[in-house]
């Protein structure tokens, strides 16, 4: 375990020391109650084996040193010691494997719950959460719960249980030493808590700075081209030296305090053991106790402190677990977004859509739409124009049902969209967003995301309709080419056409296309639009676009300005008015 601050950790996690995270952890622990009891039982068994080992060793010493007996008399004891050690090894093995199994079941169930929850919260419920940290929480965050359950929780109970058990066994042998142990023990957690608080607040104050300095080199290396362009690369080496130096000074200031807690622990444990040794020495000198009893007590003294030391060492495990729980528990507790519980089955055939006074805002001043009234007759093609940020995409997202209007309603063939069964509604529409999403699987997998059962012929037809056939032809393995991280080198325009093909494959009766022709050259745009007109027969279509050619193929153009619907006109009127303005 290093004490170097890791960047990437959540800086606020230690500031909000609310109990709900720890309560959630306890609730999860209750689910693995049985293995946890098993772990405690095994720990107690190991404790008893330790007592037996110490006692046998002390007895052997008594025989050899005090009674002058030979090897033959300690041979059975040595054999017994090996057996006890084997027993201890077995218990240790069982304990650790039980821990690993218990942790595995917690991680599996929490990750599954969490991921499904995030999915069902969807974009509407997750508004305001960045995806990056969420991914981190589902993957690494869940793993970080492990030490809390396997280290901290058992140690918490053992720190109370084992010392008292040892004390009960020791006092009949040597109550004076027992007193020393009894009174020194509580000092350890007390001082550790005091010092731990101090170092934590110091660390918290410095956290942002420390993590920035920790990541400094990497930041510079990643930005080297920029540094070179601006002639700053050479002199930046001295900055690296300076920041590393500051990093050392600042971290050491934190560590000097943080290490004090371990110091206190060692101090009390060591001094306690030393005092016990001296007391026993004199009791032996006076002939009050036997070497067996004295040595047994001396051997047990470090064991008495061990659970407390282990608890101290598992403090880091607790911090880590609580920090992870602070990210996980609130997500699991998030209420599902409202308005997605409709049950009506939408009618077949192209729907007629009416927006009635629909308003939606993302936040204080981040766009949205207000009071939009718009009609999309069944089977019509409507284009939505307007500047960026005017609310076009918001309108589309409300229509496909990714979010619900704050006020007003959207009517589908006269029924409120909210009352429709969400999955049914989704199955009858297809949406091509501005930046379509592709998995790293094959082209075929991506095309068939919405229709896993589509056959070769249907795929080909959809590709033809999206003017994407030639793209597939150019790929090394055709439909089975793996797209990989950056889309196998496909350009934005090519990916857009694949997304169109995917949408066509869905056989939806409502098509919502957000900038379907962005990134296409005029010739391809013409081909795509020509095909679009064929495909859109018997479908209601909403196309968001800036481009003249695209707008021209719509029946009507609705223009949005600053979140409001400005006008609905024919494409000719719209385009001629634009020319006048330009």
């Amino acid at each position: 375990m290093t004490e170097l601050p890791e960047d990437g950790d959540d800086g606020d996690s230690s500031t909000r020391r609310d109990n709900s995270a720890e309560q959630w952890l306890f609730a999860e622990a209750r689910k693995i109650r049985r293995p946890l009891f098993y772990i405690l039982g095994l720990s107690v068994a190991i404790g008893l084996l330790v007592v037996a080992q110490a006692y046998q060793l002390a007895s052997a010493c008594q025989r050899v040193v005090m009674q002058g007996e030979g090897v033959s008399s300690v041979l059975p004891l040595a054999g017994l010691l090996v057996l006890l050690a084997a027993g201890r090894a077995l218990c240790t093995y069982l304990l650790e494997t039980t821990s690993a199994r218990a942790a595995a079941s917690v991680k599996r169930s929490v990750r599954s719950q969490l991921y499904r929850k995030l999915q069902s919260l969807g974009p509407a419920g997750l508004a305001g959460n960045e995806t990056g940290p969420l991914i981190e929480t589902v993957t690494r965050g869940v793993d970080e719960l492990e030490p809390y359950f396997t280290r901290f929780l058992p140690q918490l109970f053992l720190a109370a249980l084992l010392p008292s058990m040892f004390l009960v066994i020791l006092v009949p042998f040597e109550w004076r030493s027992g007193l020393v142990l009894l009174f020194s023990a509580p000092c350890i957690p007390l001082f550790m808590i005091l010092i731990g608080r101090g170092s934590e607040s110091l660390h918290r104050r410095q956290w942002g700075r420390l993590s920035r300095m920790a990541g400094h080199l990497l930041d510079l290396v990643q930005g080297l081209p920029d540094l070179i362009i601006f002639g700053a690369a050479k002199k930046e080496a001295t900055v690296v030296a300076r920041v590393s130096e500051e990093y050392r000074v600042a971290t050491m200031a934190v560590l000097r305090v943080a290490f004090l807690s371990a110091f206190t622990l060692e101090f009390f444990a060591t001094v306690g053991t030393a005092v016990v040794a001296v007391i026993i020495g004199f009791r032996l000198l006076w002939g009050v106790v036997t070497l067996r009893e004295g040595l047994f007590v001396l051997l047990m003294a470090p064991e008495f402190y061990l659970p407390l030391r282990n608890l101290g060492l598992s403090y880091h495990a607790r911090m880590q677990g609580v920090a992870a729980a602070e990210r996980i528990a609130p997500l699991l507790a998030k209420p599902l977004p409202e308005g997605f519980a409709g049950t009506l089955i939408p009618p077949a055939g192209p729907p007629a859509i009416i927006f009635e006074g629909v308003s939606f805002r993302y936040g204080a001043n981040r766009g949205g739409i207000s009071d939009v009234d718009l009609e999309l007759p069944a089977g019509s093609i409507t284009a939505l124009a307007g500047e960026s940020g005017a609310g076009k995409s918001t309108l589309a997202r409300l229509l496909v049902g990714l979010a619900r209007p704050e006020s007003g309603r959207i009517l589908v063939n006269g029924q409120d969209l909210k009352m429709l069964e969400p999955d049914c509604w989704r199955s009858m529409l297809a949406w091509v967003p501005q930046a379509p999403f592709f998995t790293s699987g094959t082209v075929r997998e991506n095309l068939c995301l919405g229709r896993p059962d589509a056959d070769e012929g249907q795929i080909c037809m959809a590709l033809e309709a999206a003017v994407a056939g030639e793209i597939i032809g150019c790929l090394p393995h055709g439909l089975d080419t793996v797209l990989g991280d950056r889309g196998a080198g496909l350009s934005g325009g090519e990916l857009k056409r694949l997304a169109l093909a995917r949408a066509y494959l869905c056989q939806a009766t409502l098509l919502v296309l957000d900038e379907p022709t962005a990134g296409l050259d005029p010739e391809n745009e013409r081909l795509v639009l020509a095909a679009l007109e064929r495909v859109t027969r018997d479908r209601t279509v909403l196309i968001i676009s800036h481009r003249e050619q695209t707008l021209a193929c719509a029946e009507r153009v609705a223009e949005m300005v600053a979140g409001r619907l400005e006008r609905v006109v024919s494409p000719t009127v719209f385009l001629s008015s634009c020319e006048v303005a330009a």
Binding site: A89, L95, P225, D226, S244, L260, V278
Partner: protein, 547 residues
């Protein structure tokens, strides 16, 4: 191992701290084992003295116990401080060394590092090197020295016990870790692979959640995630069982070792080779010395991964400089005209991207390069920046750029690269990189020319707003405009712009182009080369060239 030793060579100036940390580590273990040994011997002698009536001078041992107790406690604190101090001093040396080595390699060599995962892999590798001393060298040195010293101590009193302990310490400290390492190799590798796949499918599932919902594919994705998660956890559990084996083995060897010493020791007592109280001393000492053996497994287990990290880092650091500089060249370009004649270039050898390109931009001229992606538009700018080699001839102001020193050449050029990097600092820090001595007036001008003025004015902390790691706290369009402002602030005769309006909405894009044009018109002799496939950017040049 040689690579790891080379790491010591880099940080040799800190040898005193490193040695001090190891000496303190050994001292702490010595204090601890001696404390147990002296305590055992002390109480055994007291018992013998109590029963036989022979006087025993208890003053010295009891003072010794007190001294050792304090030495151990204080020593441990000092040891932790010194080893960490050493670690951070090494870190500083290492970072400067790495930075100086990496600087001339960027970007042509750096981007090939670890198969392209530069950020993730380099972070882990540099981390591994930075904690190499703390986590591997110091524990190994302390463990080995302490064990050697302990065996000498034991041999002094009882050679047979020393031999026995040698066996058990080797088993616990070396044998056990080797077994564990070979057992955990396969599950370790598999769990890393599965974890990467899990991360990938979680990322896809969450980033694509909207489309997955609409395509009705979320349940299928959830099942994929569940299966991968179960796979990762299964491997982690397997690793946990191997760890359990190692811990169990440790306690078995420790217990058996003490039992063996009990036998050899009592034989020697019976043969009157050692005084009886020494048996107790030997036993307690032997039990305590396993602490030193316990240092070895963790360090030995980390060794292979650290060696791989070191290999990767040093391999990169030793790579030949891809585009050599010509620092002593006294050549100076006569003007700002750029001329490409029959230029060919590639990202990877043998896969030419640009072939026989010829073009000219006169001083004060502006050219927009357009063309579909992958034709090498960005590469053309990168060779002009001397990031990559080229064949043919490129002149700036009539001088071949190969013959110029990079300092002279880059002193004339400002650029917005394809993927500009924002440094973890404020907006001001990032813009001022273009010209650290610029006054407020110039900064505000650059802000307004790149259409950032209104946005910055609306931020509560204005220019002092932090941009986050890699610009994570600002949007892509904002980041690009910050990079643009940075380039404009440099105010030099040649301006290279790679997709300057990427990530901007149409209205902002138009505004940026208009403001840029206004600025460029006022500084007539700036030579501008723009790479873009966006129609709005065509307005930035007096010539447009389609590649």
């Amino acid at each position: 191992m040689i690579r790891l030793l080379r790491f010591l060579e880099i940080s040799r100036k800190q040898w005193l701290w490193m040695v001090a940390g190891i000496v303190l580590g050994v001292a702490v273990i010595a204090a601890n084992t001696l404390l147990m040994a002296v305590s055992g011997w002390f109480i055994a002698s007291m018992a013998v003295s109590g029963s036989s009536g022979v006087a025993f001078n208890y003053f010295f041992p009891s003072a010794g116990i007190r001294f050792l107790a304090i030495a151990r406690t204080v020593g441990r604190y000092a040891e932790r401080l010194v080893t960490h101090e050493a670690t951070f001093r090494i870190l500083a040396e290492l970072r400067v060394w790495l930075f100086k080595r990496f600087e001339p390699l960027s970007p042509a060599c750096l981007e090939r590092y670890a198969g392209g995962d530069v950020a993730g892999r380099l972070r882990a590798d540099v981390d591994a090197l930075e904690t190499l001393y703390l986590k591997i060298f110091a524990p190994l040195a302390v463990g080995i020295i302490s064990i050697a010293a302990a065996l000498v101590f034991l041999a002094w009193f009882s050679p047979p016990s020393a031999l026995i302990m040698l066996l058990f310490l080797l088993l616990a400290g070396i044998g056990l870790p080797l077994v564990v390492r070979s057992l955990s190799e396969e599950p370790g590798r598999r769990s890393a692979v599965l974890a990467a796949e899990l991360r990938n499918s979680v990322t896809e599932g969450l980033q694509g959640v909207e489309e997955l919902i609409l395509l009705g594919a979320i349940e299928r994705q959830a099942v994929v995630v569940d299966n991968l998660s179960a796979g990762v956890i299964r491997e982690q559990e397997r690793l946990g069982r191997i760890n359990a084996l190692s811990l169990a083995g440790m306690s078995l060897f420790a217990g058996a070792g003490v039992a063996a010493v009990l036998l050899t020791g009592s034989m020697q007592v019976a043969a009157q080779q050692i005084p009886p109280p020494n048996l107790v001393m030997l036993l307690l000492f032997s039990a305590a010395i396993f602490e030193a053996a316990g240092l070895l497994p963790a360090a030995l287990l980390m060794l292979p991964a650290a060696r791989e990290s070191a290999d990767r880092v040093f391999e990169l650091a030793d790579a030949p400089i891809p585009v050599p500089d010509n620092p002593l060249s006294g050549e100076m370009p006569a003007d700002n005209g750029i001329c490409f004649t029959n230029v060919s270039a590639s990202y990877l050898p043998g896969r030419p991207v640009l072939r026989d390109i010829s073009l000219t931009v006169p001083t004060g001229g502006s050219l927009v390069l357009t063309g579909s992606s992958g034709v090498g538009k960005s590469l053309l700018l990168e060779i002009l920046l001397r990031f990559r080699n080229y064949e043919g001839s490129i002149t700036v102001g009539g001088v071949e750029i190969r013959d110029l020193s990079k300092e002279t050449l880059l002193g004339m050029i400002a650029a917005v690269p394809q993927h500009p990097h924002l440094f973890n600092g404020s907006i001001r820090d990032n813009i001022m990189l273009g010209n650290p001595s610029a006054d407020e007036q110039l900064v505000l001008q650059a802000l307004s020319d790149s259409c950032l003025d209104a946005w910055v004015a609306g931020l509560p902390s204005g220019l002092d707003t932090a941009v986050g790691v890699g610009g994570s706290a600002v949007s892509g369009g904002e980041a690009r405009r910050i990079a643009l402002a940075r380039a404009l602030l440099k105010d030099v005769p040649i301006l290279l712009l790679d997709e300057p309006t990427e990530g901007l909405d149409a209205a902002t894009e138009r505004e940026v182009v208009a403001r840029l044009n206004r600025r460029l018109r006022t500084t007539r002799d700036t030579t501008v080369l723009v790479v873009s496939h966006r129609p709005a950017c065509l307005g930035l040049g007096d010539t447009v060239l389609r590649l």
